[in-house]
Symmetry: C2
């Protein structure tokens, strides 16, 4: 018997060689996710729906995946980045609007008067968004958004906002697309603002970005054509507005949805209420060190009812602190797994 035994060192090498392909494969899939419950649930779901002949197989055309943006694909603290853009635009546009010096809420923005700005509330904020997002063509607005995105930096990380995206979610988007999914953004953000960077940053083309919308008007100025943005909200893509826009624009029910706040609850409900295997995920902001820690009491991205329903229904809740090796692409690859 002894003579037939492979020497221990050689055994180790053989074992390693046999395992290498498996290790390589494992390393390719969602590398910034620890091998925790969320990663396992995702891989299990994706394999189930994309394995031909399997009982949960879904044909590629129906593999629709929808993602919230703020707090799900990129950070949303200390304020939604689009709001920071609107505030910066007020300052940039101020020379063309001398009246703003004495006119609230613009006066508060120009004087950095946070208290006055808060007092202006949602109504004041909407006024700021209207003034900086409408009464111009879609093309002109897109140029404005891109200019800001190319130069502005986040107050804490000092990185461009387009780098404040979640590396694990970028990997998830790619992993889904590799498995035949069509990935969509369905977000409360204004649609043209998100389209200004979604293709480059997330690989999501403009026609797969759904968001809050303003009325528009096709304008013909003696042959110079444009789409003008009007200061009138036509769709608020939050809460019940999400399944409504999914039905209106996609026209079929997603099989996977990911969000991070109560504003995503109806989208998750609508997705999981369809027949067959479905996936609902929530990014839970638990990492006060590398990102931010907030949920039930937060003004931005409150996660309360949806967290209860996720627990009750067994949806996947991603514990950012525990399950993500890396938060942002600019972080050095961590080795805590």
């Amino acid at each position: 018997m002894y003579a037939h035994r492979t020497p221990p060192t050689l055994r180790w090498i053989l074992t390693l060689l046999l395992c290498l392909p498996l290790l390589a494969q494992a390393a390719e899939v969602l590398p910034s996710w620890n091998d925790g419950p969320s990663r396992q649930a995702i891989v299990k779901f994706v394999e189930a729906v994309s394995t031909e002949g399997g009982k949960d197989y879904v044909k590629p055309a129906e593999r629709i995946a929808v993602f919230d943006n703020d707090g799900t694909l990129w950070s949303e603290q200390p304020l939604y980045f689009q709001v920071l853009f609107a505030l910066a635009e007020v300052k940039r546009m101020a020379p063309q609007h001398p009246e703003w010096k004495e006119q609230m809420p613009f006066k508060a923005v120009l004087e950095n008067d946070q208290k006055a700005l808060e007092a202006a509330g949602m109504r004041g904020l909407l006024e700021i968004v209207m003034a900086t997002h409408t009464n111009m063509s879609t093309e002109a607005f897109t140029d404005n958004a891109r200019r800001w995105l190319a130069s502005a930096t986040h107050p804490r990380s000092h990185k461009p906002y387009t780098e404040m995206v979640y590396q694990p979610m970028l990997e998830l988007l790619g992993y889904l697309r590799e498995h035949g999914f069509k990935t969509y953004i369905v977000s409360g953000g204004e649609v043209a603002f998100m389209r200004a960077f979604a293709e480059e940053v997330y690989g999501i083309p403009p026609e797969q970005v759904i968001g809050t919308t303003f009325a528009t008007r096709f304008q013909d100025d003696e042959g110079a054509l444009s789409i003008q943005r009007l200061p009138k909200l036509t769709h608020n893509d939050d809460g019940a507005g999400k399944p409504e826009s999914i039905d209106a624009i996609i026209g079929r029910r997603p099989i996977l949805a990911f969000g991070n706040s109560d504003g995503d609850l109806q989208m998750l409900q609508w997705t999981t209420a369809g027949e067959g295997l479905r996936f609902a995920g929530l990014v839970h902001h638990t990492d006060g060190e590398r990102e931010w820690a907030y949920d039930r009491q937060s003004k931005v991205g409150r996660l309360d009812k949806a967290l209860d329903e996720a627990t009750e229904k067994g949806w996947t809740v991603v514990d950012m602190a525990k399950e993500w090796k890396r938060i942002y692409p600019f972080e050095q690859q961590a080795g805590n797994n």
Copy 2:
């Protein structure tokens, strides 16, 4: 010399053999189109934008093609098929609405009183459309549309409406997709009605169908979720409404557009006003024998201003009678080329 000449019969055979691959290729592309100006313009455009390294090359992501539906992809006479559906639905739904017996415009429909129906005008028609298209879920409406499409037949051809589609346009849709185009419907038709058959008939998935829309409401009846359609128009996808919906939903400008009426003019203008090579096409209904012949004076699908502008700008105007070998898939393949 004589000894070296190939015998005439053999020469013919050799020539034929050499030409076979060319013939086969030519036969594959748009076989129901005569080799006229329209087919040539289409092939020239598609080859120019899809030839890598060429000066007119357009990357696949930007190869967006938009098509009107009524009169462009399927017939629209004697009335828009969706209107025929709405009229049929009034009769089907009448038992649940005893009040309609005495109530215009429903009374006119139930009594086949065409004169009274015409007198009710656009307002009456809209009332009929609302009554048959809203106050139900998208799912229920889709079922109704599919039931009608599966059983109703056209008054003249006695064929199902989904067979009254243009064979040459089906080939064009396929040809574009083979060349990396994403094909969209952008039509005045109601979006859910078109989605009920667009994927099966045109190979165009629901998310690439854009049309006229009603307001909707996400409804939660003790856990039973639905999208309810409300009797309120939110977008009329005709005329200027077409570039507006293209901007809102696709978020980039098409490089090819096809229509057949003045309601498509702004979509063609918007498409061709973009930079680089663009294609604008109009289906001209010139075939009173195999289809219908109408343009400037027609109530349905009037083509007047757009015909002038097409002539002026050199857009492609398809002369249906001269350029299409076949109109409908159910016709026997014609041999007139």
